[in-house]
Every structure is written in C-alpha cells, then in structure tokens.
Amino acid sequence: MTVPATKKDFMIVNMGPHHPSMHGVLRLIVTLDGEDVIDCEPILGYLHRGMEKIAENRTIIQYLPYVTRWDYLATMFTEAITVNAPEQLENVQVPKRASYIRVIMLELSRIASHLLWLGPFMADIGAQTPFFYIFRERELIYDLFEAATGMRMMHNYFRIGGVAADLPYGWIDKCLDFCDYFLTGIVEYQKLITRNPIFLERVEGVGIIGGEEAINWGLSGPMLRASGIQWDLRKIDNYECYNEFDWEVQWQKEGDSLARYLVRIGEMRESIKIIQQALEGIPGGPYENLEVRRFDRAKNSEWNDFEYRFISKKPSPNFELSKQELYVRVEAPKGELGIYLIGDNSVFPWRWKIRPPGFINLQILPQLVKRMKLADIMTILGSIDIIMGEVDR
C-alpha cells in the first residue's frame, strides 16, 4: 500500500520533561513538518512548589532561604530583592559599606549566572568544552562566596538594612586576583567561540526579535538589549550605588541569538569593571568589622550612630510590614526580577507576587521557533536563558 506523496500529516513530537539539555524540567510539544517547526507549545509546572503561598506564612528573615531556590544560578539577586522590598516599604536606609558589599556580591553572582548560561548553551549547540571551562571559573566564584557567606550556593547573606556579616580578612585581595584572572578567561572564550565559523553558522540569524516586538512582549534583560533597546535597570533606577561607578550598558542591534550571546559576554566584562571599582573604593577600610550587635546603651558613643545601626540585625521576627503595596525590581542577569509586595500590618506579607524574568521571556518561544528547523529550537531556548526554578516558582 503506497501513501500518495502529496498527503502529509504533521508530526507531533514531545520533548519531555527529561531531556539531555540542562535547562530543567520544561516540556515542549513540537509540531513538525519534516524538519521545519510549525508550532511549539511549552508546558510548565513541573517544578511548581508554591513559593508565593509559602511567603504568606513566613517573616522576611524566615523566607530568605526560600528565595535562593527561585533562580539558583544568580542567588544574590533573589536575596537582594527580598530585602529591598521591605526596605523600600519601610524606608530603611542601608549604610555605604553594606551597599558596596552588596554590589560586589551581585556582580559576582551575575558573572556566575552568565557563565552557567554559557556552558549549557554551548553544550546544546554541540560544543562540550566550554562547559568544563565555565565550571572551572565558577568554582573560583563559589570559593569566594563560601569564604564570605558560608555556603557555596544558597547564601542567606542579605539582611534588611545590610548584609549578615562583613567580608573576611583578605577577601578583597582574593577577589581582585579573581578579576584579573577572569579577564584572561573571557579572552579565551572569545578566541574559542566568538569567531568560530561553526558557532556562527548555528547562531547568526536565528531567533530574531525586533525592538518593537521585544517591548510588546514585555521582555527584559539581555533579550531586550540585544534588540537595540538600551534599557538597563541599574542605570535607570539607580538602586544600591551603581551610579558611583563608571560602566556602560551592553547592547547590540541585530536581535538574533548571536547578539544575545555578545550582550552577555559584554556584561560579564562590565561586571568585572564594576567589581574592581567597588573593591578599590570600598569605604570604611577593608578590614573593619561591622558586626556590632551588642551596644552598651548607657554610654552614648558613636557606635549608636546611623552608620553602625542596622548592620547584622539578628532575626527576631519583629519587622512589621505596614499596610502598603509596592513594586520593587532589580536587573537580574536574566531580566527584570520584581516583587509586588502587599503588607498587612503584621510580620507576614499579605501577598508576595514574584515577577520572574524567565517566565515572561519564555512567552516568546513559540513565536520564535515557527519556520525554524528542529535543531534551532535548542539554540533559541538556550539563548532565552531560562531557569525553571523561577519560571515555575
């Protein structure tokens, strides 16, 4: 029995929750016509753990360990926004040194996140070597984090009004050494990847998003900046002390996957610049211990002044959130991470809505993979840079 050559059915393929790439548990149902993709439907929810519901029963300090599990590659950002929300709600000031330490940690976390984006992205395209290179650099960042915060990944380091503990003795020198080493590392990646003809063939012109389109879909982060729009919340909102450093917004015009790759590599370089400037300009002297918890209240010393006050406020769950609502955002490496907080005059928030960058950026995937080949799906998905912990929450 022969099937006439003109009769074709579309084939529906399931790229199930378990797949060889390292993006996490995302299920794609792809409708194919031979090698061309007709439609793609992402199915989420395989990692939905109820983070927003859990937040309604935890004080901020109790909730801090949960937030690093949203975006587990760039953990400092989730912690930063969790303390920024109550800080802005109640107008708590942060001393200068704590602000500098936060910026250093955030930028290190940004580098770590972009590195671990790069590895699986290249592995999906077929190049296995960068995967080993990034883990080598990421181990160095982990060592720095472990020296300062005690944990390699899930730090629980930020507190309302500052950070939990000061940097240990000698950390700053080690961090400067890391910055010098890492700049040579980026040069190595440039030599290996950026001018590689196979890489360019696979990535150039794939998944093009126009500038208007990017704004309409609500994209943020490197996806937006690769389409020609110079929108970086660090320059626009001027939070922490980013306006004291000299750095530039990385952006490209084309809007394809190559542009997104170049934006992220450029951001890593800019982060190193920011870290170096912050390390050199950190106030208070590098070895000063800020962990003053016990004041002698009888004596009226300068230690009761503002600069030493809210540092390392140990958890007694008395930080009350007043009955207001507020939206806070940071420029996470994947995009704009936001929290919409509705307080309720109690220690627990009434509503803790998370705006995850990965979830919003993932919406554009079905649009981008239409008319592409099957092999381009992984390239496009990789260049969107999602992490299922925050997409599903």
Binding site: G16, P17, H18, H19, P20, M22, G24, V25, G45, Y46, L47, H48, R49, G50, K53, I54, N57, P65, Y66, T68, R69, Y72, L73, L116, F131, F132, F135, R136, R138, E139, R152, M153, M154, M388, G389
Partner: protein, 168 residues
C-alpha cells in the same frame, strides 16, 4: 573456608592471575562503572553538574552521565519532585535496566525539605515513589558529600550477593 595463609595459587603464579569469586567479580564490575542518569529538576542539579566539571571530576569513579535511562544504572534524584513530575520520575526509573541503584540527593527528595510545610504540590520524599539505596542529606549537598554518597553506594554494591538479585 577462610584460610590464614595465602592460597597456593597466589604463591606460584604471582603477577598474572587474580583469584576471586564470580560474585565479587560481578560486584566489582558494576560498582566501578556506575553510569548515572543526567537527571535533575532544580538546584541540586547544579551541584551534580559541577561534579562533571574538572574540579570534582567524577569520571574517576567511573561515572559517566548518560541522558537515556536505558543506558544508565544509577539515578541521583537531584531536585524537588512535585506531583506533576512524579509520574515522569517513576517512568524513568522503570525504564532503567536492572541492576539499578538510586541515590536520593538533597533534603527536598529525602523528606520534602524546606517545602515540607505549606507547599501544596511537593512530594514529601521520593521514597514514596521508588526504592532508595542511599540517602544524601544537604541543601544542596557539597560535591564532596555527593562523592561520599557514591563511595558508600559502592561499598553497598560490593557486599551484594548475586542470588538475591536473580531470585527475588
């Protein structure tokens, strides 16, 4: 049957013959090349992936991460299992070929971890779904701890008796 002196065979033929039992040989061959499934749902997976990297190289234990469950004989459940993911995990476990081992990694998979209270969709422990050989606590466990779990699993395998597997 356990003599104190070395058996005669070892004294005569010194370097070219190893005498062992079939049981020990099969245990040794299985524990030296445990191929693990490249499986991970959330944060513990990053720790598992850093084991593949060059600092905590776990290829020296014979572990090679494979993507297909048909080619793997160890599954390290890394990452929270939710109710939506549970059928998928059980199916992966069933698709693995005997003999297969399970190391349960991280607090989320042992008892539900930090999602034990208040979370409506997390499964409180993967041992409700599949039989477990080694429990590895941590949130996430350090890569050295994962290697310790693999070492304990190897010790467990080395004490297995061949007939238990085939008869049951």
């Amino acid at each position: 049957m356990n003599l104190i002196e070395f058996p005669l065979v070892d004294k005569i033929i010194t370097n070219s013959v190893i005498s062992t039992t079939l049981n020990d040989l099969s245990n040794w061959s299985r524990l030296s090349s445990l191929w693990s499934l490249l499986y991970g749902t959330s944060c513990c997976f990053i720790k598992f992936a850093s084991l593949i990297g060059s600092q905590f190289n776990f290829d020296r234990y014979g572990l090679v991460p494979r993507s297909s469950p048909r080619q793997a004989d160890l599954i390290l459940t890394a990452g929270t299992i939710t109710m939506k993911m549970a059928p998928s995990l059980v199916r992966l476990y069933e698709q693995m070929a005997e003999p297969k081992y399970v190391i349960v990694m991280g607090a989320c998979t042992i008892t539900g971890g930090m999602f034990n209270n208040d979370s409506y969709s997390t499964i409180h422990g993967v041992d409700k779904l599949i039989p477990v050989d080694v429990y590895l606590p941590g949130c996430p466990p350090k890569p050295e701890a994962v290697i310790d779990a693999i070492t304990k699993l190897r010790k467990k395998i080395s004490q297995e008796i061949f007939e238990d597997r085939t008869v049951s």
